[in-house]
């Protein structure tokens, strides 16, 4: 069978629409070429504890492999990165808004007790001060040039996510759908003689079933899966400190959190799912906007959009495709005489929400 590999392709999901210039590509890597960092993420010590609490571990899905993870080196692993040579004590404030009503109206079908596990979520710690040791988890082994990427220290990432909830995991296990790709990566967006601007992308999940669930009642598993977290960290190379940190749920899509309830044999048809909107789930410390708007003269830099695009491509093979905006697709197809292949999906293909 021979396929004509020349056409225009559109991938449309939610309110985000793209066009691509070829529709059959060989991109990506095999399942065997999964990042070392991915294995590391799956075996982080903290989430090992979390998984032990999960009674439905046998029902966990097999995660989709990362696209480029095998090519990405591990970042700094150790106590304190040499770059952070002075004391950093940066207070981080957590902000977490309630879940909105989902497309599948889980709030109508699920027992109020279980649904309250989602609606009553609050940050485990409203404020917490992190040190240079904590922030070292987000740095590369050595600083190279803008565009450099690395895998984050999973245990260090989990330390921050615990400010939201005590049971985070970097290994997505909520059953009933394709999971992953797992991963947590950093990218050096910009460098100046004084500052480093680092962008982060983290896939994580929170296991909500309370610790005190009665032992004599069959377990009900509940997971809260953000689309993904985007982060930003500004390091002052001259002072050896972290001046700004932000880690936030992506809000670019209209629905950005997946809810899962797994109750085998409990009259809930086994599982219940919904995809909801959460306006704000964020950790923030320092005054980044003041810093970033102060006219830092970056020696080398990528745009923020490009940095986020490169990070997303580490996870998803489909992003190897060359997309162009929908509003240009028809005119391009006409001018080039090329057919169009459009994929229109209710949910997003490039995050964990659907």
């Amino acid at each position: 069978m021979r396929i004509v590999a020349a056409g225009l392709v559109i991938l449309a999901f939610g309110f985000s629409i793209y066009t691509i210039s070829t529709y059959l590509q060989q991109g990506g890597q095999s399942n065997q070429d999964v990042a070392v960092a991915e294995d590391e993420a799956s075996s982080g010590s903290d989430q090992g504890d979390s998984r032990k609490r999960d009674p439905n571990v046998a029902r966990h899905p097999v995660p989709i492999a990362q696209n480029q993870g095998g090519k990405i080196p591990a970042g700094f692993r150790g106590e304190v990165h040499p770059l952070l040579s002075s004391k950093t004590l940066l207070e981080v404030t957590a902000d977490w808004s309630p879940v909105g009503k989902g497309r599948d109206k889980l709030h109508q079908s699920l027992h109020p007790l279980f649904y309250s596990w989602f609606t009553e979520l609050r940050p485990a710690q409203a404020k917490r001060t992190y040190s240079e040791r904590d922030y070292s988890a987000f740095l590369p082994k050595t600083v190279e040039e803008a565009g450099q990427t690395w895998a984050l220290d999973p245990d260090g990432v989990l330390r921050f996510l615990k400010q939201f909830h005590p049971r985070p995991s970097l290994h997505l296990v909520a059953p009933g759908r394709r999971a992953g790709p797992d991963g947590a990566f950093g990218l050096l967006r910009a460098v100046s003689p004084t500052y480093l601007d680092i962008v982060l992308r983290i896939h994580a999940e929170f296991y909500l079933t309370p610790d005190d669930w009665p032992a004599d009642i069959p377990p009900v598993g509940a997971w809260y899966t953000p689309a993904y977290f985007l982060g930003r960290m500004i390091v002052n190379q001259r002072t050896g400190t972290v001046e700004y940190f932000r880690l936030a749920l992506a809000t670019d899509k209209s629905l950005n959190v997946h809810l899962t309830v797994d109750a085998p044999g409990r009259g809930l048809a086994g599982q219940a799912h919904d995809v909801v909107r959460v306006d704000r789930m964020e950790l923030g410390g320092g005054n980044g906007s003041l810093l970033l708007n102060s006219g830092v003269s970056w020696t080398k830099s990528l745009s923020l959009d490009e940095a986020e695009r490169r990070l997303a491509k580490i996870f998803y093979q489909s992003l190897e495709i060359e997309f162009v905006p929908l509003d240009q697709a028809l005119s391009l197809a006409r001018s080039r005489g090329r057919p169009i292949f459009a994929i229109v999906s209710w949910g997003s293909f490039e995050d964990q929400s659907c």
Partner: protein, 82 residues
């Protein structure tokens, strides 16, 4: 996409009118006429073992996962192959 369609985008209007839940794959001519479609629920026989089965769908064995690829390629070949 529905917002874009409401704003008058010609292609968005066409795709929104043709789309069926949850995933619709559409093949169009360079001038924007629909040649054929594949719907993930209607045209693909099963779902991945990790995925909760929607009504009237069956989970597929892991060795059968590529059947969707075959269906897609046959469809493309039928319309565009040579």
């Amino acid at each position: 996409m529905q917002k874009r369609a409401a704003q008058g985008d010609e292609l968005a209007k066409l795709l929104a009118a043709q789309w069926e839940y949850p995933v619709e794959m559409m093949f169009l001519t360079p001038t924007g006429s629909v040649v054929s479609k594949l719907n993930s629920y209607r045209d693909f026989p099963g779902v991945h073992p990790d995925v909760v089965s929607p009504p009237k769908k069956q989970n597929v064995q892991r060795e059968d996962e590529h059947s969707h690829t075959d269906i897609f390629l046959k469809h493309v070949s039928m319309h565009f192959g040579r």
